[in-house]
């Protein structure tokens, strides 16, 4: 089930918008409190009824530039977090929330393990986000390390 999730968007992203110079994998990604507004005109473009600029139907990974060395799961998580890292961070600090649940869904965490997943994220918040400049890549790596150390959650860790 999980493997098929979001694949169409992935296909489009892989063939179309690979980001130059982003390094191996999906690059560092955004920082927790990344700039999301940009210039005034860019804000205007995004807040008009026509959100964002010319983008095709079926895009779900935005401008993410992952290369083909990454698994589909990792790419999905990276795309999700690059839009949402601050929302996921605050949910982790609060130990619950919809954005964190979305991440758990992408990691295929079973309903019965969601509470433990959230609790582990909250307990290890400063490890997952060691600074205000934490990148998505660091946060994902640390989260996976946290999951791997937990007997019940290790199965949900993505392979690095």
């Amino acid at each position: 089930m999980k493997k098929l999730l979001l694949t169409a968007g992935l296909t489009v992203a892989l063939s179309g918008t690979a980001m130059a110079g982003s390094g191996p994998g999906c690059g560092l990604g955004s920082m927790i409190f990344a700039e999301k507004t940009g210039t005034f005109n860019h804000v205007l473009a995004s807040i008009t009824n026509g959100i964002y600029s010319n983008q095709a139907f079926g895009m779900s990974t935005g401008t993410l530039g992952c290369d083909s060395s990454q698994s589909i799961e990792y790419t999905q998580v990276a795309a999700y977090l690059d839009t949402n890292l601050d929302q996921v961070a605050v949910d982790m600090a609060r130990g619950e929330g919809e954005a964190l649940d979305g991440l758990a869904t992408l990691l295929d965490v079973q309903a019965s393990d969601r509470a433990a997943f959230s609790a582990a994220a909250q307990a290890n918040f400063t490890r997952i986000f060691p600074s205000a400049d934490t990148t998505r890549e660091t946060a994902v790596d640390s989260l996976m390390a946290v999951l791997r150390e937990d007997q019940n959650l290790a199965m949900y860790a993505l392979n690095a």
Binding site: A8, H42, L44, N49, Y52, F57, Y80, E98, L106, A132
Partner: protein
């Protein structure tokens, strides 16, 4: 690109078929043509809807202008030829074409044709990998209509927005909503285009527009967080299979250019048109022929019985106001200090003195405030937000969201956006006259407030006509006022979400009943509004006005608005101005009472007094207003 190939191939095959007529093995061709003729399938309402055709005098025309959407050369104006050409394209598809096959390119059109053709007419079997992957990715379980609230500070978003979320499922349960895909229609705005260009192109229909899909988490980030617009989510009464059909209807318009015009051919209208293409049993766009605003989309769908009670997703500013309301003033101030003083030890020490539950809320409020503040003041705010999250992670798990009782009235509870009024006026000339008023859109500061953005006035093309009888007993009809736009934003100042109060008007206004001239003027005001209690506010604006009278005025505009009873509103407004050209001061005092009779009916009483030079003029009006 793929479209082009499909069309070229399709076109070539159609020609080929036409030239060899019935000579080949496609002997069923003639039978389906006969069948279509016999049943006049091309006149079917469903065909019109699937192809976005509208009846026009002497024929039909599709709302879709892009030639790529049609197989017949004049397909946009010819439903008959287009049906034959489309069916031929579907018939001549081959599996090798894959995603470029006509069946894959226009899956909703093909589905409709399949549903309407007899079973003994068979089409080639073609796999559509891209479409199948997209549907699988969506894993549709149903649909939700999404309504981001109006946003007064941008002309393109003054009336809100609508799009559809395709809710997903996994393992038989509804999937996390943030991961759902959305289908929306919008203008293809270039990132470097400025607001005036946008407004001009939008109003004149010069924008290319398109149907597109984004994950819902991006939409939420955009509306709730970046623009701070509340979102209403209305579950729709559609099955998983119907949601799949809707995806196909959207797919038909993938990469197709559809002009975007701000007044009618906007997101609201196109979305209804798309819903009709998916579900021809509903007549949804008939209501609109001049203009549509997003809340009309909601009403139309509500009338069709397609919407359920909505869920509220508060924007960042709404969450701040809610959390601030849950805490004592001293705690709100502590939350603000935590941010403004960058999580200083003195403040964290004060925080530690509070009961655990309140500590949590104070930090949550401070965090939201830090993110709101970061929109304007970026330096150092990331460190502050991060410091607050570190604090928060040590506190008990949990979140406090506004309960349904604390939600504002949902947009459909609001009055109709069109307003027509008849009334009587008593003026300085000591005569009574009749008056007629019409406002095509949208809402003012005295109208029933429920369902609209708080304290936001948006009047467009408001007209006022006076009917009086002159000395010769002759009826005299005069236009007294025509506003192109008349905006006012009077949000009470909140320390955590500071905002200016402002007003702007552009239009023609007669100065008095005896005046012959109808000068055109522009009027702006800038200042601050403050809350003067739970149900009242005061405001003070510095104003500047220029008219073709000619006048050049500078002045002040003060007012106090109070909610009386459930929906009635009383207001007192005073303006003083100095005319720089005539060297003459003037002052106006107006009292207004709007008595709401029902959601769509109200009576408004207004008294005004004006002094200018040595004269004092007073007037009174009484209007009965219908909203529809």
């Amino acid at each position: 690109m793929k479209t082009g190939i499909a069309r070229t191939l399709g076109g070539a095959l159609v020609l080929l078929l036409a030239s060899v007529a019935n000579a080949t093995s496609t002997s069923f061709n003639t039978s389906w043509i006969h069948w279509v003729e016999q049943n006049r399938l091309y006149q079917d309402d469903g065909w019109y809807k699937v192809m976005h055709y509208r009846a026009i005098s002497g024929g039909a025309r599709s709302d879709v202008e892009d030639a790529d959407f049609f197989f017949a050369p004049a397909g946009r104006f010819d439903p008959v030829a287009e049906l034959f050409s489309s069916v031929r394209a579907f018939m001549t598809d081959t599996p090798e074409l894959g995603d470029a096959a006509a069946q894959c390119r226009y899956p909703r059109r093909f589905e409709w044709v399949l549903e309407h053709f007899p079973e003994d007419i068979v089409f080639p079997q073609v796999e559509c990998p891209a479409l199948s992957a997209f549907i699988e990715q969506s894993a549709p379980s149903g649909m939700t209509l999404i309504y981001p609230n109006a946003y007064l500070n941008n002309p393109a978003s003054m009336f809100g927005h609508t799009f559809v979320r395709i809710d997903g499922q996994s393992g038989g349960e509804t999937r996390n909503a943030l991961l759902a895909l959305t289908v929306s229609y919008g203008a293809d705005v270039q990132p470097n285009e400025n607001g005036f260009v946008y407004a001009f192109k939008g109003l004149t229909g010069l924008y290319p527009g398109s149907v597109r899909s984004h994950p819902y988490y991006r939409q939420v980030q955009n509306y709730n967080e970046l623009e701070s617009r509340d979102i209403w989510e209305y579950p729709m009464n559609f099955s998983p299979a119907q949601a799949e059909t809707f995806i196909k209807a959207g797919w038909d318009l993938k990469d197709i250019n559809i002009n975007y015009a701000y007044l009618l051919e906007n997101c609201s209208y196109r979305l209804l048109s798309l819903l009709e293409a998916a579900f021809p049993q509903y007549d949804l766009v008939d209501d609109f022929d001049v203009y549509a605003v997003p809340v009309d989309t909601l009403r139309t769908l509500g009338r069709a019985g397609l919407l359920e009670a909505p869920r509220f997703r508060p924007a960042i500013a709404s969450r701040i106001h809610f959390l601030a309301g849950e805490l004592a003033q001293a705690q709100v101030e502590l939350a603000q200090r935590l941010v403004d003083d960058a999580v200083a030890p003195a403040d964290t020490a004060a925080l530690a003195q509070l009961p655990a539950e309140q500590q949590r809320l104070v930090v949550d409020l401070a965090y939201e405030y830090s993110r709101f503040k970061a929109k304007k003041e970026r330096s150092g705010m990331a460190e502050v937000s991060y410091g607050l999250l570190r604090l928060r992670a040590q506190q008990p798990a949990g979140q406090l969201a506004p309960p349904p009782e604390a939600w504002p009235s949902e947009p459909m509870q609001g009055h109709g956006v069109r307003r027509a009024g008849v009334g009587l006026g008593y003026g300085a000339d000591n005569t009574v006259h009749a008056r007629f008023r019409f406002r095509p859109a949208y809402h003012d500061n005295y109208d029933r407030q429920a369902g609209f953005l708080d304290n936001a006035q948006v009047n467009a093309l408001q007209a006022e006509v006076r009917l009086s009888v002159d000395e010769d007993d002759e009826a005299d009809l005069a236009l007294d006022r025509l506003d192109l736009v008349d905006f006012r934003s009077l949000n009470p100042y909140h320390a955590m979400t500071p905002s200016l109060a402002w007003a702007g008007r552009l239009g023609w206004l007669r100065q008095g009943p005896q005046e012959k001239a109808l000068p055109f003027g522009a009027d702006i005001g800038l200042g601050r509004a403050v809350s003067t209690g739970s149900n009242s506010l005061g405001f003070l604006l510095a104003t500047a006005e220029a008219t073709t009278a000619p006048q050049l005025l500078a002045g002040l505009h003060a007012g106090w608005l109070v909610d009386v009873a459930a929906h009635d509103r009383f207001g007192l407004e005073a303006r003083i101005a100095h005319d720089v050209l005539a060297e003459e001061p003037s002052a106006t005092l107006t009292a207004t009472y709007n008595r709401v009779l029902s959601t769509h009916r109200a009576v408004r009483f207004q008294l005004a007094a004006k002094t200018q030079g040595q004269t004092l003029e007073s007037s009174a009006t009484l209007d009965f207003n219908w909203y529809f």
